[in-house]
């Protein structure tokens, strides 16, 4: 054991990876020890993902070497890394929703192709439950598991396969505060058992909560490494962005105006095709006024998605009335939602907000394009649309060489800025923002928050839905707490504290869902 403590579990020295003329990683040195949680920090595009793809065998380094327990290794594919004991918990889970949890665990290349791994995996998962307390629900469909439970299953899957070095890619992005606390405790337990943990995160609070050491990457190179106890958050931010980030402007006082979105008695079934299925939302009353940000706090899966989909007209409502910008909003469709002055920054950007194969300008103008002046009588005016896109690129600081680049090639932050540009360019009365900074780095997050504040100052209304309580507390004028498909209470910003909101989130566990 003593000998092991001296040799790092994983040592990268001088690792360089180039894609054509672009250097993604430049002479990166990194030591990961057993029993420690090592935070890997950096902005979007700083090279964290590429580095971890090298470690997990997805890419091969152009220069430098990777040593595991002192031995040089060269993985040709991810399977090799897994066999050697390096596992990654991806941001986007690699589970098959239509199989049970146990079947997902058993899904792996077997040495004997016809052997049934289920019994073996069931035993392994029970062992893991005994040692780490990570309990799964073996016969439940993954589709029925919450995000936090799916993440737990991912971790069990890696442990089942014997992973000793675990890499977490932004694990808290999808988790509620409570789930994050649980995960943090679990990470510490795993580290105490001698696993090596790498935590990729944007959130400094998390880094300071669990990590022992940190390494900061900027533009592909290491700019700092050391013990977390010997660094301040400000120093870390400065390392990440290469300069201090401007303070967020203090929230100006805005007198809320007329109601922009009014929801009365909204009820939504869990299964959109079956009105008799148990309700996902019942008796929802909400009002968002001009010049105000209404935050919706709640753990994931409390009915947030259903609320957005019902207001947008993606999902039918069983009962209830909605008024948008002073007019009744019935026969809802996404198109009418936008026409009535709505705008949306959805949570799942890749899935519902951008068409990654189309160009940046087409994505930015995707909605404006269908109205004059960018089109007349169904005929487009591409040069005007490109001009408009270039104007918005400058205004929203979208970094791309040309507006003709497919949007899928941009970094996540720039994609999100493009979505913001599109949604704000229509001067909406109401903006629905769902987890608007999920997966963004410090600078991009700051930009998004600033845009939201400016929209509020201009008299716009914002419905902010987030699982990140800090975000809700920092931005909202009023906070509605959603739990089990019901609004448990609405709190003014001045009166809101983490404990009070947390109490409301958990107060009505047994709320009857009629």
């Amino acid at each position: 054991m003593a000998n092991r403590a001296q040799t790092p579990a994983l040592r990268l020295s001088g690792v360089t990876k180039r894609f054509g003329a672009f250097t993604a990683n430049e002479r990166v040195d990194l030591d990961i020890n057993r029993g420690e949680i090592h935070a890997l920090l950096g902005e979007n595009g700083a090279g964290k993902t590429t580095l971890m793809r090298i470690v997990t065998g997805l890419y091969q380094p152009d220069e430098g070497e990777v040593r595991m327990d002192g031995e040089t290794i060269r993985f040709r594919k991810p399977e090799h890394a897994l066999r050697a004991g390096i596992g990654m918990v991806h941001q986007h889970f690699t589970l098959v929703p239509t199989l049970t949890e146990l079947q997902n665990l058993a899904m792996r290349p077997a040495r004997i192709p016809w052997s049934n791994a289920t019994a073996d995996v069931r035993r392994r998962s029970e062992e893991i439950a005994a040692t780490t307390g990570l309990r799964i629900n073996p016969d439940r469909m993954v589709a029925d598991a919450s995000i936090g439970e799916r993440q737990r299953l991912e971790i069990v899957k890696l442990l089942c396969r014997g992973a000793r070095i675990l890499i977490f890619d932004e694990p808290s992005a999808a988790l509620s505060p409570g789930e994050w606390d649980e995960l943090a405790a679990l990470m510490r337990r795993l580290a105490a058992e001698g696993h090596a943990i790498v935590l990729i995160s944007h959130k400094l609070t998390e880094v300071f909560a669990v990590a022992d050491r940190y390494t900061v990457l900027r533009a592909g190179a290491v700019v700092g490494t050391g013990l977390v106890t010997e660094v301040t958050p400000d120093e870390l931010v400065t390392m990440m962005v290469g300069g201090p980030v401007m303070e967020r402007p203090a929230r100006a006082h805005v007198n809320p105006g007329r109601p922009v979105l009014t929801v009365r008695g909204l009820g939504v079934a869990r299964d959109p095709l079956d009105p008799k299925s148990p309700p996902a939302l019942s008796g929802i009353d909400l009002q968002v006024r001009a010049g105000e940000i209404l935050g919706i706090a709640g753990v994931a899966g409390s009915g947030q998605n259903e609320l957005v989909e019902a207001v947008m007209g993606i999902r039918p409502a069983l009962r209830g009335r909605i008024e948008l910008d002073g007019k009744p909003f019935e026969d809802r469709t996404p198109r009418r939602f936008y026409q009535s002055g709505g705008a949306l920054i959805p949570e799942d950007r890749h899935h519902v907000a951008i068409v990654s194969g189309m160009t940046l300008w087409e994505n930015i103008t995707m909605r404006a394009l269908r109205r004059p002046p960018l089109s007349r009588r169904g005929i487009l005016n591409p040069s005007a649309a490109r001009g408009e896109a270039r104007r918005l690129m400058a205004e929203f600081d979208i970094r791309a060489d040309t507006e003709k680049i497919p949007i899928g090639r941009l970094s996540g932050g720039n994609q999100q800025k493009a979505v913001l540009a599109r949604e704000f360019s229509g001067h909406p009365a109401l903006l629905i923002a769902v987890q608007p900074v999920r997966g963004l780095d410090v600078r991009a997050t700051d930009f998004v928050y600033r845009q939201l504040s400016e929209h509020r100052a201009r008299g716009g209304a914002i419905l902010l839905i987030s699982m990140d309580l800090d975000e809700i507390l920092a931005l909202s004028d009023r906070i509605a707490v959603l739990a089990h498909g019901r609004i448990q209470g609405v709190v003014e910003a001045e009166d809101a504290t983490r404990t009070r909101i947390g109490a409301l989130m958990t107060s009505a566990e047994e709320a009857p869902c009629s």
């Binding site: 894609f19 054509g20 672009f22 993604a24 595009g45 947008m312 993606i314 469709t333 996404p334 198109r335 939602f337 936008y338 026409q339 949306l344 959805p346 890749h350 899935h351 519902v352 907000a353 951008i354 068409v355 990654s356 194969g357 189309m358 160009t359 087409e362 995707m366 909605r367 394009l369 269908r370 089109s375 169904g378 005929i379 487009l380 591409p382 497919p406 899928g408 090639r409 941009l410 970094s411 996540g412 994609q415």
Partner: protein
């Protein structure tokens, strides 16, 4: 700029032709024919004189029309393979109406047969579109099965309601002369039909439809990411249905062109002759570019016409042409896979979420 953009595709096309020629030479040598003799017979049979060139160009028209239908449907994300059925439906509708249009003046009769073909193909495609939009039946399955239905219906028509009275052959009576699409009188044999003007016109219409109209924009958004389109207020179902109808219309027009600008002035049950599926190959070889599809349609048509010529002059089995077409399709798919692999090696900070899994869907930016 334009050249640089399209250069890789030109190279792929040329490469495919060269390799296909090599394969052909090997087969020819194996069957005891000198490739040089075969080449000269092939050239003579396809472009060697005005008559044969006219045939080649005229036969390229139905191929291109089907290819354009495929391109529109694919752009909307609707991979259907009902082209043979829609060609037959369009041709049969045009025949049924054309046989009764003997009294109309020529220009009007031609227009009526063309419109009837479009309507027939679109209606047949409408079955697929309706099943998809209202019942969620995969369009690729329903269209494939409807092909079989169309083949049987056509066989019944030429033996039943549409059978000519003059003979007991399973074919219709001769079309009234006024309905036959006019051909260029200067070409001996009158093999060059005026419908070759459809080659550039239809290709340009499709390019403009996709790149310059709000409708085409919505179509591409629906095809690129249907869920995002829906969330952004574009109805991907409406776009998909209209795209399938348009593709059926193109295929139906191809059916009318096969009959009324073809060699025989009647409809028999085998008139479709593989155009429906070869049209898909034409579009794929062109990388789903409407303009390049003109070129590849002519190449495919030349393979057909030249294969017949080889059989006539050198007694080479005409199935050689089919072997070549098969080889071309395989080579194109191979080239698409190679091109994709090369693209994936390029730096991509965020792997495109919508990386298409099918080489078939490889599209170009219009």
């Amino acid at each position: 700029m334009l050249m640089r953009q399209h250069l890789p595709r030109v190279l792929v096309t040329v490469g495919v032709i060269v390799i296909a020629a090599l394969i052909a030479s090997l087969i020819l040598l194996a069957s005891g024919v000198a490739p040089v003799d075969a080449l000269s017979a092939f050239w003579e049979g396809t472009f060697g004189n005005g008559t044969n060139a006219g045939t080649t160009l005229t036969q390229a028209v139905p191929l291109l029309l089907v290819a354009l239908g495929w391109i529109v449907a694919t752009r909307a994300g609707r991979l259907h393979v009902g082209y043979p059925g829609q060609v037959i439906a369009g041709g049969a509708t045009a025949t049924a109406i054309g046989l009764n249009c003997g009294g109309l003046p020529g220009a009007l009769a031609v227009l009526v047969t063309a419109l009837a073909g479009i309507a027939g193909g679109a209606l047949w495609a409408g079955l697929t579109a309706w099943l998809w939009a209202s019942r969620g039946v995969l369009e690729i399955i329903s269209s494939l099965l409807l092909n079989l239905v169309a083949i049987q219906v056509a066989a019944w028509l030429v033996r039943g309601p549409l059978q000519g009275t003059a003979s007991q052959e399973p074919q219709t009576a001769n079309f009234p002369p006024s309905t036959i699409w006019p051909s260029v009188p200067a070409i001996p044999g009158q093999t060059l039909s005026f419908d070759v003007v459809l080659l550039p016109i239809c290709a340009v219409i499709v390019v403009l439809l996709l790149s310059r109209t709000v409708f085409g924009f919505g179509l591409r958004a629906s095809g690129g990411n249907g869920e995002a389109a829906r969330w952004l207020g574009i109805d991907p179902k409406r776009g998909g249905v209209v795209a399938i109808l348009i593709s059926g219309g193109f295929a139906g027009l191809a059916g009318a062109a096969l009959l009324f600008a073809g060699t025989a002035p009647w409809m028999s049950d085998g008139f479709e002759a593989g155009v429906g599926f070869n049209g898909i190959a034409v579009a794929l070889l062109a990388g789903n570019s409407p303009v390049f599809a003109i070129l590849t349609a002519v190449v495919f048509s030349a393979l057909n016409v030249g294969g017949t010529a080889l059989q006539a002059t050198l007694d080479v089995p005409s199935s050689l042409a089919e072997v070549l077409q098969g080889a071309v399709i395989v080579l194109v798919l191979l080239a698409a896979v190679l091109a994709r692999r090369r693209r994936e090696q390029a730096p991509a900070p965020q792997p495109a979420a919508a990386a298409k899994s099918l080489a078939l869907v490889g599209t170009e930016e219009v």
